[in-house]
C-alpha cells in the first residue's frame, strides 16, 4: 500500500523597517508594521485561509482518509494573532479533526541549529509550548528550519524527545537511493528520517502553472498516476511544500485549489492513502541509514545552507547575531527576548544572498530590499542597536562564564535567603510555640518553682514530677557540695 505524506509549512518573518545608522541607540523599535500587516493579511487572504479551508473540506469529504502535517513558526503565529486571528481559528479546526499533525520546529525560523545547540533546544521548546497552548498537541516529529539537517544534529534531536525528522531528499546525499522510504539517522539509528520527494513536490510548488513545462497542464489524475507508477516497494511519497504554494506562488486562477482538492478522490481510486509523519515512522520500517555529513536544506539549487550563509555578508551577520545568544539567554528582559526571537529569523539572511540566475530570482522575489547590500546594512544597523541593548543589561567587560557564575550566585543567594528565611520562620514558630507552652505550663510550674527548681530540668522528668516535687528542697542544697555526677539524676 502506497501512501502520500503531505506537509505544509507556514512562516512569515517580522520584516524590518528602514533603520538608519543614526537610529542606533535612539530607536529601539525595528519592525515595519505596515508592510508586515499588509503582507500577512494579503497572503492569508490569497493563500493560507483558502488553502486551509480546502484541507478542511478534503478531510470532511474523504471522511477522514485525508491527513497531512502542518508546521507554523512562532513568529508567524504571533503575526496571525495580531493581524488575522480568523486564520488561527481555521487551524484550530484542522487540529480538532485529529487528522492534522502539527510538527515541532524552531520558534523563530532560525538557524540556531547550525551554531548554538542550546539556543536550538530553547527555540524548539518555545515553539512546542506555543503549539501545545494553541492546538493542544505535543509534536513528536521535528522539522528544522528550511528542512536543515545533518548527522551532527541527530543525537540532540533524539535526546530532545523526537522520533523523527523531516528533511530534504537532496540528490547529492541520496545518490542512487530513492527518497520514497523511511531512513534512519547515521549517528543515531533510533531517529528516523523522512525525505522530501523534490521532483514531485516542486512539480506542484514551482512548475504547476508554467506553460513551458512539458507536463503542463498538470491535473490531479495525471499527478496521482505518476505516484502510482513508482515502484511498488516504495511505500511513501513525501510531498513537502510551503502552504503559500496554494494561491500565492501558484495563483488561484491556475486551478491549484481544485487540483489539491481533487487529489484524495484520485488517490482513493488508485488505492493510495494519506499518512502523517508520525504514523509513517510508526508503521514503516527504515530501509537503511543515511549519512549527511554537511547540512542540507530545501533551498536553492545547491540544497545546502548557502542560501543563508553563502557569502561574507551573511556569515558576518550570522556570527554577530549569535555572539550574544548566551547573554540574551542569561537575561530576562522580555522585550529584549522578543526582539531576539524576531531577529533570528533566517529570512533576514536570505535577503542578503548575492546569488544570480534562478536562485537569485527566488531571493529577490521574497526580499523587501532592492539589493543584498541594503539588506545587510539595514540588518546590521538593527543588530548594532540590539547588541548595545544587550550590553546595557550586563557590562561587556565580564566574561560569559564569570557572568554566569555571578548570576548563579545571585540566584542561589535568593534561594539561600529563602531557605534561611524559612529556617528563621520555623525557629520563630518554635520559639512562639515554646513560649505558648511555657505560658501554659507556668501555673503548673508555679508549685515546683517554690523549691526554686530550674524550669529546664522539669521536662525530662514529667512523670516523676510528684517525686521530684517532694525532693527539690534538698537538692539545691546538696548541689553545692555534691559531685556534678549527681545533677543528671535530677
Amino acid at each position: 500500500m502506497k501512501a502520500i505524506c503531505f506537509y505544509f509549512q507556514i512562516h512569515q518573518p517580522f520584516r524590518l523597517k528602514r533603520y538608519r545608522f543614526f537610529d542606533i541607540g535612539n530607536d529601539h523599535y525595528y519592525y515595519d508594521d505596515f508592510a508586515n500587516e499588509d503582507i500577512v493579511t494579503r497572503i492569508a487572504r490569497n493563500s493560507y485561509i483558502p488553502a486551509a479551508e480546502s484541507l478542511l473540506r478534503m478531510i470532511e469529504q474523504s471522511e477522514g482518509r485525508f491527513r497531512c502535517a502542518i508546521s507554523v513558526t512562532g513568529v508567524a503565529l504571533e503575526q496571525f494573532e495580531q493581524y488575522v486571528p480568523e486564520f488561527i481559528d481555521i487551524l484550530k479546526k484542522l487540529a480538532a479533526t485529529g487528522k492534522v499533525e502539527f510538527l515541532a520546529e524552531t520558534y523563530s525560523h532560525s538557524l540556531a541549529s547550525l551554531t548554538d545547540p542550546d539556543e536550538f533546544a530553547e527555540q524548539v521548546r518555545l515553539h512546542d509550548e506555543k503549539i501545545q497552548l494553541i492546538f493542544g498537541q505535543k509534536p513528536t516529529v521535528l522539522r528544522n528550519t528550511e528542512l536543515i539537517y545533518c548527522d551532527e544534529l541527530a543525537p540532540q534531536i533524539y535526546s530532545m524527545g523526537y522520533k523523527a525528522v523531516i528533511t530534504e531528499g537532496a540528490k547529492h546525499i541520496l545518490g542512487w537511493k530513492s527518497p520514497n522510504y523511511v531512513y534512519s539517522a547515521a549517528d543515531c539509528p533510533a531517529l528516523k528520517l523522512l525525505l522530501k520527494n523534490s521532483k514531485l513536490s516542486d512539480d506542484i510548488s514551482f512548475r504547476f502553472s508554467n506553460a513551458d513545462w512539458d507536463a503542463y497542464p498538470l491535473t490531479a489524475d495525471k499527478y496521482i498516476d505518476w505516484i502510482a507508477q513508482t515502484p511498488p516497494e516504495e511505500q511513501i511519497v513525501n510531498l513537502f511544500m510551503n502552504l503559500e504554494t496554494f494561491g500565492e506562488l501558484q495563483h488561484r486562477d491556475s486551478g491549484i485549489f481544485q487540483f489539491l482538492e481533487a487529489l484524495p478522490r484520485f488517490a482513493a481510486e488508485k488505492g493510495i492513502e494519506f499518512i502523517t509523519p508520525s504514523d509513517a515512522v510508526a508503521k514503516l520500517k527504515p530501509v537503511g541509514e543515511l549519512t549527511v555529513l554537511h547540512p542540507i536544506s530545501w533551498a536553492d539549487e545547491a540544497r545546502d545552507t548557502s542560501a543563508w550563509l553563502g557569502n561574507k555578508l551573511q556569515r558576518e551577520a550570522f556570527d554577530k547575531l549569535y555572539s550574544v545568544s548566551e547573554r540574551v539567554r542569561l537575561c530576562d528582559d522580555r522585550r529584549l527576548k522578543q526582539d531576539w526571537n524576531y531577529l533570528q529569523a533566517s529570512d533576514h539572511l536570505f535577503y542578503m544572498s548575492t546569488k544570480h540566475m534562478a536562485d537569485g530570482d527566488m531571493h529577490s522575489h521574497f526580499s523587501p530590499y532592492e539589493t543584498p547590500f541594503q539588506a545587510f546594512t539595514n540588518y546590521m544597523n538593527v543588530l548594532a542597536d540590539f547588541i548595545v541593548r544587550v550590553e546595557e543589561q550586563y557590562p561587556l567587560s565580564i566574561e560569559n562564564e564569570e557572568l554566569n557564575s555571578l548570576l548563579t550566585t545571585i540566584r542561589n543567594q535568593a534561594t539561600e535567603i529563602e531557605t534561611l528565611n524559612k529556617e528563621v520562620n520555623s525557629m520563630r514558630k518554635n520559639i512562639e510555640h515554646y513560649n505558648e507552652e511555657h505560658l501554659l505550663r507556668e501555673p503548673k510550674a508555679e508549685e515546683p518553682k517554690k523549691p526554686g527548681r530550674k524550669p529546664r530540668a522539669k521536662k525530662a522528668d514529667d512523670a516523676v514530677e510528684p517525686k521530684a516535687a517532694k525532693k527539690p528542697g534538698r537538692k539545691p542544697r546538696a548541689k553545692k557540695t555534691d559531685t556534678p555526677a549527681e545533677t543528671p539524676e535530677a
Binding site: 538608519r20 545608522f21 543614526f22 542606533i24 557569502n311 561574507k312 555578508l313 556569515r315 558576518e316 551577520a317 548575492t354 544570480h356 532592492e370 539589493t371 547590500f373 541594503q374 545587510f376 546594512t377 546590521m380 544597523n381 548594532a384
Partner: protein, 415 residues
C-alpha cells in the same frame, strides 16, 4: 573614426572610452581602423589603429620638401600620407589661419572658441574622407558629429555616431541650443546611433525625437590596469577615507556628497572625505563644507592626473559617485578595479550593468550616508563588495563591447 580625446592626453572619460573601444574592436580581428584626433602628441599607442592628427592635415596647398615635412611632423605622421592628403584638398582655405604646412592648428582641448574648432575639424574631415579608403564612419561625441556628417556627404558611406553624453546630462536640463542643434543634426544624419547606456538611449529617443530602432546601447567597459598601477602603495590614513573623484560640476552632484558627509560625521568621527578634482563648483563646495562645520574632515586635494588617480583610489575605503545624470561613468569601474567598494547614483548609466555596488538615488543623502557608514563600519560589507566587485569588473571587457559595435556595422552595411 573621429574622436576628440585619446590617451594618454585626456581630459575626461571620452578619451578612455574611445581608446578602449577601438582597442576592443581591434582585438576582435579583421579591422582596419583610422582614428582622427585634433592634436596628437606622438606618445599615443598606435599598435591597433592608424592615428591621424587633424593638426597635420593640410587644407591649403603648400609645397614643402619631403625632408622638411619629415622634420616638422615626422614623429606624428608619415610624410607620404601628408602628400597624399595634400592632393585631396577640395577648396581654397587660405583665408583661414593655416600654418607653414597648410594645416589648421587645433588645441585638442575645450577652448572658448570650441565651436570654431569644431567647424575647422569638419573642414579637415573633408580632406581625410577624400583621401582614405574605408567602409564606415564612426563619430565619437557631438564635437565630431559635423565632421562625420561632412565625411558622409562626401563619400556616401554610412555614418555611425557614438553618444557618450548629451547636453541634457551636462547642463541638468538647461540645454545650450547651439550644442543641441549640433547633436540633433548628427543624430538625424546618422545611419545608426550607439549610446553608452539605456539612460542615454532614452534621452536620445525622447529628448531628440529619434526613432528607437536606430538607437542601440553598447555599455562601456574597462581596460585592465597594469601591474604597476595595481601595486601603487600610497600611505594610508588612520581613518577611513571616502573619495569623490571627478569634475566638480553640477552634473556630478558634489553637494549631495558634502551633505551626506555631514550626516555621517554626526555619528561617526573615524572618517575622512576627499573631493578630488576641479570644476566650476569647487569654491561653492569648499564653502558648503565650512558651513556644515566639517571642513576639518573634508579635503579638496585638487585635480589628480595619471598615477595620482590610482594612488588616491588605493588609499580610499569607499568611492562615491553621486552624479545627477551620468551617461555612463567609468570611474566607479576603475575604483572597483583597484578594489575599492563603490556607491553610485541610480541615475548613472553604469548602474545598469553593475551589481556589486551600492546604488542610491543621487538626492537620497540619508541612504548615501547609511551606505558609507555600512561600508566603513562592517568589515564583511567591505570585503564582499571589494572581492565580488573586482571579479565583476574584470569580466567587463572592451572586446565584448567592440564585438557589439562590429555587429552594428555589419547591420548598417547590410552584410
Amino acid at each position: 573614426m573621429f574622436g576628440w580625446e585619446f590617451p594618454p592626453h585626456i581630459l575626461g572619460g571620452l578619451g578612455t572610452a574611445s581608446y578602449g573601444l577601438t582597442r576592443g574592436m581591434w582585438q576582435c580581428g579583421d579591422m582596419d581602423i583610422t582614428f582622427v584626433i585634433p592634436k596628437p602628441w606622438g606618445d599615443e599607442d598606435r599598435s591597433f589603429a592608424h592615428i591621424i592628427g587633424a593638426s597635420q592635415v593640410p587644407v591649403a596647398w603648400r609645397d614643402p620638401s619631403r625632408e622638411y615635412v619629415e622634420s616638422r611632423i615626422g614623429n606624428l605622421m608619415d610624410p607620404d600620407l601628408y602628400f597624399k592628403l595634400r592632393s585631396n584638398i577640395y577648396a581654397d582655405f587660405n583665408y583661414m589661419r593655416t600654418n607653414d604646412l597648410g594645416c589648421i592648428e587645433f588645441s585638442g582641448r575645450y577652448p572658448d572658441n570650441l565651436l570654431e574648432e569644431i567647424n575647422n575639424y569638419s573642414i579637415m574631415a573633408g580632406v581625410v574622407a577624400r583621401t582614405l579608403d574605408f567602409d564606415i564612419i564612426h563619430s565619437h561625441d557631438w564635437l565630431t558629429y559635423p565632421a562625420g556628417i561632412h565625411a558622409k556627404q562626401v563619400t556616401g558611406k554610412p555614418l555611425v555616431i557614438h553618444v557618450h553624453a548629451t547636453d541634457f546630462d551636462r547642463s541638468r536640463g538647461n540645454v545650450n541650443p547651439t550644442v543641441f542643434g549640433i547633436e540633433k543634426d548628427g543624430m538625424t544624419h546618422a545611419d545608426h546611433i550607439i549610446t553608452v547606456s539605456n539612460l542615454t538611449r532614452d534621452t536620445v529617443i525622447n529628448k531628440y525625437g529619434i526613432d528607437p530602432a536606430k538607437v542601440t546601447t553598447v555599455h562601456n567597459a574597462v581596460t585592465p590596469l597594469s601591474e604597476e598601477l595595481l601595486n601603487v602603495n600610497p600611505p594610508r590614513a588612520k581613518e577611513k577615507v571616502v573619495t569623490f573623484l571627478g569634475r566638480i560640476t553640477m552634473q556630478k552632484g558634489p553637494e549631495y556628497f558634502v551633505e551626506a558627509a555631514a550626516k555621517v560625521l554626526r555619528n561617526n568621527h573615524n572618517v575622512r572625505f576627499v573631493m578630488a578634482g576641479s570644476g566650476d563648483m569647487m569654491d561653492k563646495m569648499i564653502l558648503l563644507a565650512a558651513e556644515r562645520g566639517i571642513a576639518d574632515r573634508f579635503h579638496f586635494p585638487g585635480f589628480q592626473k595619471g598615477k595620482q588617480v590610482y594612488e588616491m583610489l588605493k588609499a580610499s575605503d569607499v568611492y562615491i559617485m553621486p552624479s545627477v545624470s551620468e551617461p555612463f561613468g567609468i570611474s566607479p569601474l576603475e575604483a572597483m578595479q583597484m578594489g575599492v567598494p563603490s556607491i553610485i547614483s541610480k541615475q548613472s548609466g553604469c548602474a545598469e550593468i553593475l551589481t556589486n555596488v551600492i546604488k542610491t538615488d543621487y538626492w537620497d543623502i540619508d541612504a548615501m550616508a547609511d551606505a558609507i557608514n555600512s561600508i566603513v563600519t562592517y568589515p564583511a560589507m567591505y570585503e564582499q563588495l571589494r572581492e565580488d566587485g573586482l571579479e565583476e569588473v574584470n569580466r567587463i571587457t572592451w572586446d565584448k563591447a567592440g564585438q557589439k559595435v562590429i555587429d552594428i556595422y555589419n547591420k548598417v552595411l547590410g552584410r
